[in-house]
Each structure stands twice: as structure tokens, then as C-alpha cells.
């Protein structure tokens, strides 16, 4: 029982990170019908932004304040990177076919990865440990089940960010504008909404959430490298599709489900003859099943407000 609870905690922990990234995929898709394949790399940029902020200001742990500074700084930088990508790569080709934008997204993704590899090399870097989880024992729940400080922080911060996003989208004026743009871009423009600004803002918010994912995950797993966004980004994309792409609660649900599924494959797969190395295959098997059985995802429906 304690092992099961522990695996659930582990799974939800990775799932929370997938959810944060999946939100960016789903928001951009909701507004532009674009799968932003560079989004996983924005997650990586966020982690590295945090790493270099910590390096520049000589921030080391354990300190919650340092973590907060690094987290907010990384979110800000990633938001700017997201807006720059949108402004200079996607906006100029937005008037062409959707395929052009998709190929542009793939190009941007490869460009970011290879720029980073060329500039700093592919060797993993160590993210500073702001929570002291390397030296402090975890908090015991019952039996053997335990939860580490890093895991608690990941849960709390992701839930707070998701609630904040929900509030922005449903309770504020820009949120209403975002929903209007996602409903119909041209009508929204006719209503006097500055659609370019709203699209830009959507990229900024999505990128900031991905950066938060990058910094938070580095508290649990300090190993960051320029290619860290590829697989994680793809799995977050699967999470967004699973939940129903374009649907915000769906992205969160999808992220948590993928994270839990992956961990349970590792933890219990052996008993039924599935090696732990199948963890990555599981996410993509889920993608294929969703596309075959319920293309609109768990929470998605054909006519629904997107964003």
C-alpha cells in the first residue's frame, strides 16, 4: 500500500510538470490551431534561464527566496522568448496555410536545440539545489511512503499557477478577449480586439508556464541539457491531446494521467512482463489509442470554447 501511494506521488509529480507544459500547447492550439513544436524547447530555455540567473547572481540554496527569484526570472525570460518566436517566426507566415506554420514550428524547435548545443555543448549541467533535498531526509507520511520538499513545492506551485491561469482566462478582460479570439479570430478583430496582442500574450503565458515547469523539475532532477525538451515536450503534447487539445482542464488531467501511467509502468510493469524501459512507449501508445477511439480527447468536444 505504501509503495502504491509512493508511486502515485511520483507519478503525479512528473504529471504536474507535463501539465504545466501541456497548458502552453493547448492554449496556442486553441487560439491559432497550431501545434507549437518549439514549446518543449521553450521549457528547456526556461530551465537554462533559471540556471544562468542563479549563476549570475550567485544564488545557491537552500533558500526559498532564491528559488522564487530564479522561478520568476526564468518565467519572464521564457515569456519574452515565446513572444519573440511568435512575432518573428509564426506571425509572418500566419496568413499562409497551416502546414507552413507547422513546418516553421519544427524549424524553430531544431534551431533552438542546435543553437544551444553549438553554444554550450550537450553535456548535462547541474541546477542548484534550492530546497536542500540532497542533504535533508524526506517527510514521512506512513509506512515507507514519503514526500520530499521538492515534490511538495512542485505540487503547490503548479496548482497555484493553474488556478491563476483559470482566473486569467475566465475572470479578466484579457481572458475574455482570449476566449473570443479562440472562438473566431476574424469576428474578434471586428469587435475591436487587438488580436495580435492577444496572440502574443497567449504565447507569453504558455511559455512562462513551461519555464516554471523547467525550473521546478530541476529541483527534483538537477540534470539539465539542451535536448531535455524533446521527449518531455512530446509527452506533454500527448497529454494535451489526451485531455482534448484546446481544453485547459483537459491539459491538466492529461498531464497527470500520462505521468501516473508512466510511473506505474516502471513500478509494476515488471510483474506483468513489461520492462521499465517501455515507459516512453506507453505515452505514445496512449496517443495512438486516443486518436483512434476518441480523437477529441477525454474532455474535448467538437463545439466548445477553446483556449
Amino acid at each position: 500500500m505504501d509503495t502504491f501511494v509512493q508511486q502515485l506521488i511520483n507519478g503525479l509529480n512528473i504529471g504536474a510538470i507535463y501539465a504545466l507544459i501541456a497548458l502552453g500547447y493547448t492554449m496556442v492550439y486553441g487560439i491559432l490551431r497550431l501545434i507549437n513544436f518549439a514549446h518543449g524547447d521553450v521549457y528547456m530555455v526556461g530551465a537554462f534561464a533559471g540556471f544562468y540567473i542563479a549563476l549570475t547572481f550567485a544564488l545557491t540554496g537552500p533558500s526559498f527566496l532564491s528559488l522564487a527569484v530564479v522561478l520568476l526570472g526564468a518565467m519572464l525570460i521564457a515569456a519574452i522568448v515565446g513572444m519573440v518566436i511568435e512575432r518573428f517566426a509564426y506571425r509572418p507566415v500566419r496568413k499562409y496555410s497551416r502546414m507552413t506554420t507547422l513546418i516553421m514550428a519544427i524549424g524553430v524547435s531544431l534551431l533552438i536545440e542546435n543553437l544551444f548545443v553549438a553554444r554550450i555543448g550537450a553535456a548535462p549541467r547541474a541546477f542548484p539545489d534550492f530546497l536542500g533535498s540532497q542533504s535533508q531526509p524526506p517527510i514521512h507520511l506512513f509506512g515507507n511512503a514519503a514526500i520530499s520538499k521538492a515534490q511538495i513545492v512542485i505540487f503547490l506551485v503548479s496548482v497555484a499557477l493553474m488556478l491563476l491561469l483559470q482566473w486569467i482566462v475566465y475572470k479578466t478582460k484579457v481572458g475574455t478577449a482570449m476566449r473570443a479570439v479562440s472562438f473566431n479570430l476574424n469576428s474578434a478583430k471586428l469587435m475591436g480586439i487587438n488580436t495580435d496582442a492577444i496572440i502574443s500574450l497567449t504565447f507569453a503565458i504558455g511559455s512562462a508556464l513551461a519555464a516554471a515547469g523547467g525550473v521546478l523539475t530541476a529541483q527534483y532532477n538537477p540534470n539539465i541539457d539542451p535536448l531535455m525538451g524533446i521527449l518531455t515536450g512530446l509527452k506533454a503534447f500527448v497529454a494535451a491531446v489526451l485531455g482534448g487539445i484546446g481544453n485547459i482542464p483537459g491539459a491538466v488531467l492529461g498531464g497527470l494521467l500520462i505521468g501516473a501511467a508512466e510511473t506505474f509502468v516502471v513500478g509494476y510493469g515488471q510483474h506483468i512482463g513489461i520492462a521499465s524501459t517501455y515507459r516512453d512507449a506507453v505515452a505514445f501508445a496512449i496517443l495512438i489509442l486516443v486518436l483512434l477511439l476518441r480523437p477529441s480527447g477525454l474532455l474535448g468536444s467538437t463545439v466548445q470554447e477553446k483556449v
Binding site: T3, N10, S133, D225, M228, T277
Partner: protein, 408 residues
């Protein structure tokens, strides 16, 4: 920039010494010009710490030979290629070194998977290759031109099993290994066989793949099996994170590893969570013997960092090659091959090196304890008299099928 300047300086020195030598020894029929040796390794990929350390060791050894007058008046010139830690690139750069640079011998790689990809090229071209530190048995089984100056996985796995059973008095061990790495699978199999041979029990076997970032699923499964030690024969990038997550799950059993842990980055990733863990390795920086002290001091003077085991093995591989060229009196391939094979009790910094009939080095291993950013010397475990024939007879089983688990 500094490195470019240094490289230019080395090349200029080489050119100058080459020119002088040609003028002086024009009648020497033994060949003119520098002896060109190829080095290939991972200088920019995920295991670049390995490639860089080895390169430092190789270059330092070559410079020492050159400063002492070279070999029969000829200097050693090292041509370096970066394979980015990828097997297919290793094969490509080795082909380039053989065909374009006409190297007389090859030094490399560290990772067994990369050596295994490059060795067939060297064997086909009949260019002797010495791997400084690939420990998978299959590497030297590629052919009679492939050698190594380190011990092999059966021995390294056995050392840790023996240490767990005898020194740590452990009866229950768990294993977490890298599924796609020839090195990690090799250690895993030989540890398992040896540990069960000592009457121990393997309570959980888990795997991951290089590049994984989350190990909590495997570690939770391991924790529920309640082991006394956890054997993690991986590379430093993943191991640092595994150590971190082990402590976050409240696991108190020490982690045990191999030479793949030996890199400065291990401490950046794992920090204090590595305290109390053990690894088997090729040598210890703390070793009081004068030869090692001199090597460590020279290396620190040159690169400002203490040499890790890979630097020491890179150094030894170049020295063994230099010694063989000198004894052969020529760089002609079959004679050079025979001379390398006849290496006996060569005094390397990683111990007395003798090459056995399977082209492997027979030498002892050290066990180091990890404490506050340092590898502290714990004990030395020597190969048993019977160890050499026993390992050579078991080697084909693991070597023949690197893609399948062969529990024995």
C-alpha cells in the same frame, strides 16, 4: 581561443622539431617525420568529461615522450577527433583518421559502445587500437589489432560483489542499470553472478535508459524490496540524479558503482546525496606511491585539476603504445601489434600493466568511498590467480550478444 593558441603552439613546435630532425637524420632509413597517432573521444556530447580527461592524459604522455627525445628520434603527433559520444560518429571519425591522416595507431574510446562501433574499422584496416578505458569484454574480441590497458567488466563486477559481500557484509542487493549501454549491462550481469556466488540475493532488478530524468518509479520498487546495497553501474550524468532521488525517497542503503561515476560533474549533480556510496575504479589520486604522486602533480600543474581515472588511463595508453613502438623499432602494423601484445609488467600510473592473450590488461582495482566531494581510498582488490582464465572463458557469452541479457 587559449586552446587554439596552445594547439598552434604544439603544431609549430612539432613542425620545428620535425624540420630539425630531418636535417640531422636524413640517412636514417627507419622513416622520417613524426609518428602520427589518432585519438578519438567524446569532446562535446553527454559524456564529454570522459573524452576530455582522456585527451588530457594522452597529450601529456605524448609531450613527455617528445621532450625525452621522442622514439628513435621521431616525435609523436596526436590528431584528435570528436565523436560526440555517438557510436556511428565514432566509426566515421576513425575511418577518417585511418584513411586521411594515415595514423599508425588509434587511442580511444572510453565508452564501450563507441569502441565497439570503431574497432571493426581499425581491425579491417589493420591499424592497432588501444582503448584506454572500455571495460566491456566484447571490445577486444573484435580482432587481434584491438587492445586495452584497463581491466574488464567481469573483474569490475566481481570486485564490487566481493566488496559488498565481504566488507559491507551485505546479503540483499538491488540493481538499477542502463538498459542500452553495453558497459552497464556487462557490469550488471557480472555483479549479479558474482554476488549470488557469494551467497547473496538479488532482491530487485530495475533498468533505465540514458537520458532518463526520473528514476522515482524504479527506486520506489527497489525500496519496497528492502535491499542493503543498490548497485548502479551507470554513467555520472544519470547517477548524480539517481543519488539525489534516492535520498528524496528516504532510501538509506548505499549506492555502489563503477568507473563510469568518475567525473567532476557527478558531484555537481548529486552533491551531499552521494555521501557514503562506493565505486570500483582504476586508481586513486590519494595513492602514496611516488610514480602516482609525480603524475598527479604534473597533471595538476598542466591542467589545474586533479586527474581522474580516465586521464590516468589515457596517459597509460599512450605510454604503452610508445613503449611498444620503441620495442618494435618500426610502426609497421603487424610488428607493432605483436609488440603491444607482448607488453609485460609495464609500470603504468594505474598499476603494472601486462597484456594477456585476450589483449586485455590484468591489473588490480581500487574501491573508493564517496565523501563530501572526494573519492576516498578504501581498499584494493587484486585479480585472483584463477580470475584471468575464468573471465576469458565467460567473455564470449556477454560479448556475442550485446543486445540480450545473458544471466548465467
Amino acid at each position: 581561443m587559449k586552446r587554439t593558441l596552445l594547439a598552434l603552439l604544439v603544431i609549430t613546435t612539432l613542425c620545428v622539431s620535425f624540420a630539425c630532425e630531418r636535417r640531422g637524420g636524413g640517412t636514417n632509413g627507419a622513416g622520417a617525420g613524426p609518428i602520427v597517432v589518432g585519438y578519438y573521444g567524446d569532446l562535446s556530447g553527454r559524456t564529454s568529461s570522459f573524452g576530455q580527461s582522456t585527451k588530457n592524459g594522452v597529450e601529456m604522455a605524448a609531450d613527455e615522450i617528445n621532450k625525452a627525445g621522442g622514439i628513435d628520434g621521431r616525435t609523436i603527433q596526436i590528431i584528435t577527433e570528436d565523436d560526440q559520444g555517438e557510436p556511428n560518429k565514432a566509426a566515421t571519425v576513425v575511418t577518417k583518421l585511418i584513411n586521411q591522416d594515415k595514423v599508425v595507431a588509434l587511442l580511444g574510446e572510453v565508452a564501450s559502445s563507441n569502441s565497439l562501433a570503431a574497432a571493426p574499422k581499425a581491425q579491417a584496416a589493420k591499424v592497432p587500437m588501444i582503448s584506454p578505458s572500455s571495460t566491456n569484454p566484447a571490445v577486444t574480441q573484435v580482432g587481434d589489432y584491438i587492445f586495452r590497458v584497463c581491466f574488464i567488466d567481469p573483474f569490475q563486477g566481481e570486485v564490487m560483489a566481493k566488496f559488498s559481500a565481504n566488507n559491507l557484509k551485505a546479503k540483499r542487493a538491488a540493481i538499477l542499470y542502463d538498459f542500452n549501454s553495453d558497459y552497464s549491462r556487462g557490469l550488471y550481469q557480472f555483479f549479479k553472478r558474482s554476488f549470488t556466488g557469494f551467497g547473496g540475493q538479488i532482491v530487485s532488478e530495475q533498468s533505465y535508459t540514458q537520458g532518463d530524468r526520473d528514476f522515482s518509479g524504479q527506486l520506489t520498487a527497489i525500496r519496497s524490496a528492502n535491499p542493503e546495497v543498490i548497485y548502479v553501474p551507470g554513467y555520472y550524468g544519470e547517477v548524480g540524479v539517481i543519488a539525489n532521488q534516492t535520498k528524496q525517497l528516504g532510501i538509506k542503503a548505499p549506492l555502489l558503482g563503477g568507473d563510469g561515476w568518475d567525473a567532476p560533474q557527478l558531484w555537481q549533480l548529486g552533491g551531499a546525496s552521494l555521501n557514503g556510496d562506493y565505486i570500483s575504479n582504476h586508481y586513486s589520486v590519494d595513492d602514496p606511491s611516488p610514480a602516482i604522486k609525480k603524475f598527479v602533480a604534473d597533471y595538476k600543474g598542466r591542467y589545474n585539476i586533479p586527474p581522474d581515472a580516465l586521464a590516468a588511463l589515457g596517459y597509460d595508453s599512450m605510454k604503452v603504445l610508445g613503449d611498444a613502438i620503441k620495442r618494435a623499432g618500426t610502426t609497421e602494423n603487424s610488428k607493432l601489434r605483436d609488440a603491444i601484445g607482448q607488453t609485460k609488467n609495464f609500470p603504468g600510473v594505474t598499476g603494472q600493466i601486462s597484456i594477456d592473450q585476450d589483449r586485455n590488461a590484468v591489473k588490480p582495482a581500487v574501491v573508493l568511498k564517496l565523501q563530501d566531494g572526494k573519492f576516498v581510498y578504501e581498499t584494493t582488490i587484486a585479480p585472483e590467480g584463477a580470475a584471468a582464465p575464468a573471465t576469458s572463458s565467460t567473455a564470449p557469452a556477454s560479448g556475442a550478444a550485446p543486445g540480450s541479457v545473458v544471466p548465467q
